[in-house]
Point group: C2
Chain length 556, copies 2
């Protein structure tokens, strides 16, 4: 391929800035123009929630000033400039200077689209009231901060319990506001976590005195005569609020692409192939404006993340200057700090795995993040999702005060290389007491799945057990913890029976051989041991409760 004389990149946040820099490194001769509608490049938008509370300062939100790009990368940087249209036949982009209103038309040989995404704003009553915000860019964050100060806001409502919603909640709490989170679905991070894992997040939010309204839809905002928001309407109630933040996710910015006749995917993002080619061979697109392939389902997803945008930027920079690099897809990895809880996930959650047509096995493993005898080990809960027949790892979730994100990164890597639970159980992860136990929680989770595959360890989830209790089912829920543990709190119900593990072998005659028995303890280790003893003794229907008390999300 001939080197292009003129390269234009539209959008300069993450993908665009990276694409332009990489293009320059590989091609010192081309004219490279970057068109950005705001007044800086390479802004760290993922830091915005932390900027609210001052945990992150403004200067740090711009990774590199525009002049850096001009001087070091010899880029033609057009700030406060909006691309209006692409003429694919003429190979030109027309843009307008937002300050002067004057238009220019620039030629391109190769064009990169990194137009990003914009917050979803439903057409709700009162959405234009003062004090109703989205949080998508630096001006948004500045406006929220000023409004809180000026309006002396004390009560905030956040609509949406996704990543941005939870990060914003933490930072508003740290600023001293009272916070209510409203989420239309049943639990926090509903697109990311399964219910029983999300339950730990819910507990954490409640502990921080955040009011939670799950499973109800917002219908609009109420305002004062001066046009300031005073409340958020949800169902038949109005929740008082001085400020409201809509964190309902984002939609890809595709107007330019659409009007230029580029193919748009079914999810609304620009359609690109693995080389980030759009349907026009001279136009590439990447970052938050495109759809990406999920490496597990092989289906297109819309998962806008800064990490993907950066990877895309490098690939576009390479390919736009004559290279042929590929983006193989995303695992759907995500991480979020919820106060002192580290929350991560990758691949498919259980719900998604069933929906994708897999026959699923899961393991729910409470564990400590490093050797329990080494100071400061902290508990985490890991959920592993695998394909029953093959043991292939489909996804994982981990929540806790301890180091969950390391495990998520290992799982993301394992999923990328289509690992199964046997290989994961054998993976030589780093072990020293300050960093891990001899068996990583992932090893244990993989082995639990293998035990289930082998039929050694039939199980019920805490949710299924709760359902059986509530239904009044005829079964024995066998608590094999100690008397002391029982006294500190136990699950209630006529079906619940305490029989400490050390006494089990001698008291087998207290249990009918044909009863349905579900064993549990604190973390499932003793529950599994009890299960093996009972099965070995000829009991015919013995399950254990996955995750046991450590994963029991209900009140005692």
């Amino acid at each position: 391929m001939a080197k292009p004389d003129n390269i234009i990149i539209i959008g300069g946040t993450a993908c665009g800035a990276k694409a332009a820099a990489r293009a320059r490194r590989l091609d010192q001769a081309a004219n490279i123009t970057i068109i950005e509608q705001r007044d800086n490049l390479s802004s760290a938008t993922c830091g915005l929630p932390y900027f609210l509370s001052g945990a992150v300062v403004e200067n740090d939100l711009v990774a590199r000033q525009a002049d850096y790009f001009r001087n070091i990368f010899r880029l033609n940087v057009l700030l406060n400039t909006k691309a209006l249209s692409i003429d694919r036949a003429a190979h030109t982009v027309t843009a307008t200077d937002l300050k002067t209103g004057s238009n220019t038309t620039l030629p391109y040989d190769k064009l990169g689209l990194a137009t990003g995404a914009a917050p979803i704003v439903p057409n709700w009553e009162g959405k234009d009231l003062k004090g109703v915000f989205t949080l998508n860019n630096i001006p948004d964050a500045m406006a929220i901060r000023s409004y809180i100060n000026q309006a002396k806001a004390t009560g905030a409502v956040i609509v949406g319990a996704g990543l941005i919603g939870l990060e914003a909640a933490e930072n508003l709490i740290n600023m001293g506001l009272a916070v209510t989170i409203i989420e239309a679905l049943g639990w926090p991070l509903p697109g990311l976590l399964d219910e029983e894992v999300a339950a730990l997040v819910t507990k954490q939010l409640l502990k921080k005195d955040i009011d939670l309204i799950f499973g109800e839809r917002v219908s609009g905002f109420r305002g004062s005569p001066e046009g300031k928001v005073t409340g958020v309407m949800v169902g038949s109630k109005t929740i008082e609020a001085d400020i409201a933040i809509m964190a309902l996710g984002v939609r890809p910015n595709t107007t330019l692409a659409k009007e230029a006749g580029l193919k748009i995917g079914q999810l609304g993002g620009i359609d690109v192939d693995e080389h980030l080619h759009t349907s026009d061979p001279d136009i590439y697109a990447g970052g938050d404006c495109v759809e990406v392939t999920n490496i597990v389902t092989k289906k297109k997803n819309f998962v806008p993340l800064g990490s993907t945008a950066n990877k895309h930027g490098r690939i576009i920079g390479s390919n736009i200057t004559g290279g042929r690099e590929s983006f193989l897809g995303v695992a759907g990895t995500a991480a979020v700090k919820v106060f002192n809880l580290n929350v991560g996930r990758t691949g498919l959650n259980e719900k998604q795995a069933w929906e994708a047509g897999f026959d699923v096995l899961t393991a729910l493993v409470p564990a400590f993040d490093h050797a329990t005898y080494y100071p400061k080990s902290k508990e985490i809960l890991v959920k592993l999702v695998a394909e029953k027949s093959t043991g292939r790892i489909l996804g994982g979730q981990a929540v806790g005060k301890g180091d969950t994100i390391k495990r998520i990164d290992v799982l993301a890597t394992a999923i990328t290389f289509v690992a199964d639970v046997q290989a994961l159980a054998g993976t030589d992860l780093a072990y020293a007491p300050p960093y891990n136990s001899a068996m990583d929680p992932l090893h244990n989770a993989a082995n639990v799945i293998r035990n289930k595959q082998a039929g050694y360890a039939p199980s019920l989830t805490p949710m299924e057990v709760k359902q059986k209790l509530d239904n009044g089912d005829d079964f024995i829920l066998l608590d094999v913890r100690s008397n002391m543990e029982w006294k500190t709190g136990h699950i209630k119900g006529q079906q619940v029976k305490l029989l400490p593990l050390p006494e089990l072998r001698n008291r087998l005659d207290e249990l009918p051989k044909d009863a349905e028995i579900v064993t549990f303890c604190r973390t499932s280790i003793r529950a599994y041991q009890a299960q093996r003893i009972l099965i070995g003794a000829g009991f015919t229907s013995v399950k254990f409760m996955d995750g046991s008390m450590a994963a029991w999300p209900y009140d005692l």
Copy 2:
């Protein structure tokens, strides 16, 4: 396979205890005997160095008391009992009660050997003096503690700068002792780290006022008339010491196996296949007494680690009761805390990769462990080792105050699944400002290797640059940092020239086009940019210094 009536496991620390417990879970009927020469099972020997200083307490060093194994697992636990011989024809083990001296002979259908390893003690003069220790088990650790108290020891010499040596050093420093480390090879962790990575560990040790003697061999110990150690002889010197710890590694305990005629490997460990079968189909072996396959070289290694021992234990427990599980090998992963430095490695280091016959490319990447704008991000140094032609990842090392071990675990996983740098660069690792930057340091390292593969970024290591400076080679070592950074410290030499990156394009005529130029900055990012500018401008021999100042281990 018929279920065995009698199972014997010899050794009950990690592998043996796990094997017995797993065997019981899978087989409630068998008689299972575990023979252990010390007075407890499942001791956490990896915690021993931390027990010295009291960071870990004695109770915690025994994961589970022997009675737990007796009651819950219905094991026949023989403590203080030493297996004397195996009669393979008769299928019996003869053991002696170390307290009473009485012998018993027990029948087995299947036997598991988990005899562990013992510290290497060269036949040095004075090795039996009081105050000369090894650190391999709980009695060792107790003896060291008592001796320090009783002898009022103030100065310790540790012989060997491996994992145990460094962990012991940290804990002795924390106890207030003056510490000298003597290592026969040239740098700390010589079997694990390459020189330039180890240099950061050296710096840390010096900062803690530890005296270091590298590249010299100990010849013996000197003692007082009362038979107490007073010094360690190294070369022509004697280093004063009230206490000395030999941390020279361990050798597999194979006497029983050897005398029973089982096959021993070339490295001295028991030879086992992937199912942990010894050369006798009724005898399994695992843990520190066996050789394991390195998954990169496919050659046998002797890498005794608690993590492997636990994995082996589970496999032996399965296979000894009729299963057929496999152990696919180790990646050679290791982690060690050296004061506040987190040190990890996996796979092959550069030296090992060359020795194994690979054509090697490496990247040395200084990076922050999470978003620099988010509080408490800390610098780390990552070294990635890959195969030049294929980009296959062969190994990695990471050192720093920040989270290095996560990256090592990701690399260990990638190596397990024979990943290449392209796939690693595209792996969807978890990103949120508290946990990572948009590009993980591993992404950057993988991309550096790809740039080198593509010929974009020829490089020299800091060691190679130092050599050229010392040789007085005719080249330009181009510091492209700012004037301010230069003033805070810079590499000296007539070949060194300061030319800040922002001025480079305008001052190209100060550099001869055909000169050999080596660019560097603080982390290599600007150095690479400068390199691309120079190459683009027609300079013919431009390299960058891998890792730049952040990896420069020499004084300024």
